[in-house]
Amino acid sequence: MTNPIPHTGLQPALQMGNPENLLEVTGLKKHFPIIKGVFAAAQGYVKAVDDVSFSIRKGETLGLVGESGCGKTTAGRCIVRAYPVTAGQMLYQLRDESVVDLAAVPEKELSPFRRDIRMIFQDPYSSLNPRMTIFEAVSEVLRVNNLCSPSEMRDRVEALLKRVGLRPEYMQRYPHAFSGGERQRIVVARALITNPRLVVCDEAVSALDVSIRAQILNLLEELQADFDLTYLFISHDLSVIRHICDRVVVMYVGKVVEVADALDLYTRPRHPYTEALLSAVPIADPRGRETRKHIHLQGEIADPSNPPSGCYFHPRCKFAQQVCREQTPELRTVGKNRQAACHFAESIQLQGVIS
């Protein structure tokens, strides 16, 4: 089944930069006003996402990684248009190869895109309504939009629950009867019931225990193959990102600092922040731990409402020069399939965690 998407007709001549891409995000900004008091004017802005560009290829898993507060969730929520964006373009290629700018689609015309692009959240406890049965939760979008007959809906929910490893007999039960791992399967089914093309997985396995996390990761990989899905996989866990992603985008304080194929990134990072982040990942092998050194960054992550001048990373960077304090480095191509936003990306030698 496909979801027919009406042509909004608003942007007739849009074209993808690369026809292999499903989504091209350019210059995306999301600034949240800081408001103190009820009637006060904004006292500044939290630049949660600040001029972010990346693209997602059809069928790939693109990782979005960075420490808490760097803007990963906000970027994901912009893509599903959970709120209007401050600036930027998000070109999306439809099934019929026509192109639409998701950032410009008016709110009341969003519903077909919300079926095409779905989001899975971290917490399987708060993302399910405790007063909805599993059947109601999974079928909600279909019911609200009157997308199919009751009998077809039942069949689809049943088949999908089976596919994600749950017993359809239990679909009249409420979420409290299920474990964390089972709830995450329900959340996955709820996202996939509309036959989406792009799924934004926001820390989808971060709250799960080791054994359940492996089950869900495998399930996500199987579903991707079965249903031809493209994933934007948001996580702060660099081991999980290495495992599941083809390419990786690294963010720091609302900006993209590096984009690369996963193996290249882990073998030889090109941005000093990526190097520090990788060095901090605990490796599950005691052999060689004496020779592994964590890079200790000075100071704290910058405040996105009051970022430093120039390169946002400069106060913590051991390579920083005068130019880093004065000029914001552009995200630019620094090799085959890779980009970095550092004035010295070509000349500095950085250490990876895969040899």
Binding site: R242, P282, I283
Partner: protein
């Protein structure tokens, strides 16, 4: 390791929670030895009993929980090469003796620093309070000690931070302040219960390095609780793997990671994503942790175990020694 090196010797510890729904056997027959100057990691999935077990070592189990049986012998050095033996399980939880041990000889840090730091008092006052409580020193000396500890845990500008309130600090800084407080009385054992679980990786790496460095400088023992096998591989000398209230495998870190014997340990290691050149397929453990009210008979892991034999559902495995400093609870290794 001889008996002089033993700090805490736990035998057959059982802690049950008597709830309206039934009895939760949170810790169900744990044997554990903590040695002087070593770091023991207690690892296991959530709900397996890690926090309850380590709270017992300070005798702070609250109702409806109770230490049902077991002993926790604490070997206290008294100078001149002598040592006292105190069974912590036998002490009155509100008595003078345990209060002397708690926070001074055995101290604890938590995942959430605000559980042990007060919002109302400065960092310095809180460290000084603990120093003054346990030592015969002047206020000025206690303050000097507080600043020294803050410096030691890598706090920038300790002379200033000492007068700050915790809410003014970042998560990582609070964690450092809590560690400074825990270490201010020079404990022989530091219990760290998931101290970095809520932190970002770069901060986690700093705290892990800090605990490891301080452990070596102060030659204290550390009981480090975590669910993260990566962290275990970085900090542990010894590892205890816990499943449903029991230690199913114990050994030194090299042995547990490279020659694990228990099917649960083996399965855990196969189910974690590794950072390597090849993207390996994950091999998850089937099923899930059973409800505390419906624990399996025999070996509690048998319904999920790929090597289970018929007798595994009937016979409860005992602690079996399979090598030097290496034990497992699994029928595969009994009566060999």
């Amino acid at each position: 390791m001889n008996s002089q090196d033993l700090l805490l010797d736990v035998k057959d510890l059982r802690i049950f929670f008597f709830t309206d729904e039934g009895v939760v056997k949170a810790v169900n027959g744990v044997d554990m030895k903590i040695h002087r100057g070593r770091t023991l990691c207690l690892v296991g999935e959530s709900g397996c009993g890690k926090s309850v077990a380590c709270r017992a070592f300070l005798n702070i189990i609250r109702s409806p929980g109770r230490i049902v049986t077991g002993e926790m012998k604490y070997y206290r050095q008294t100078g001149n090469g002598q040592q006292d033996v105190i069974d912590i399980a036998k002490l009155d939880p509100r008595g003078k003796q345990i209060r002397q041990i708690r926070g001074k000889e055995i101290s604890m840090i938590f995942q959430e620093p605000m559980t042990s730091l007060s919002m109302m008092h400065t960092i310095g006052d809180q460290i000084m309070e603990s120093v003054l409580l346990h030592n015969q020193v002047t206020k000025a000396e206690a303050r000097r000690r507080a600043i020294e500890m803050l410096d030691r845990v890598g706090m920038p500008k300790p002379e200033r931070i000492v007068d700050e309130y915790p809410f003014r600090l970042s998560g990582g800084m609070r964690q450092r302040a809590m560690i400074a407080m825990a270490l201010s009385c020079n404990p022989s054992l530091l219990i760290a219960d998931e101290p970095t679980t809520a932190l970002d990786v770069t901060t986690q790496a700093q705290i892990v390095d800090l605990i490891r460095d301080l452990q070596q400088q102060l030659n204290m023992s550390v009981l480090y609780i975590t669910h993260d096998l990566g962290v275990v591989a970085e900090v542990a000398d010894d590892v205890a793997v816990m499943y449903l209230g029991k230690i199913v495998e114990f050994g030194d870190v090299e042995t547990v990671f490279h020659h694990p014997k228990h099917p649960y340990t083996q399965a855990l290691l196969r189910s974690i994503p590794k950072i390597s050149r090849e993207r390996e397929e994950l091999d998850p453990i089937q099923g899930m942790v059973p409800s505390p009210f419906r624990r399996p008979t025999g070996c509690q892991f048998h319904p999920r175990c790929t090597q289970a034999m018929e007798k595994c559902s009937q016979i409860e495995p005992r602690v079996t020694t399979v090598g030097e400093n290496h034990t497992v609870q699994c029928l595969l290794y009994e009566n060999l």
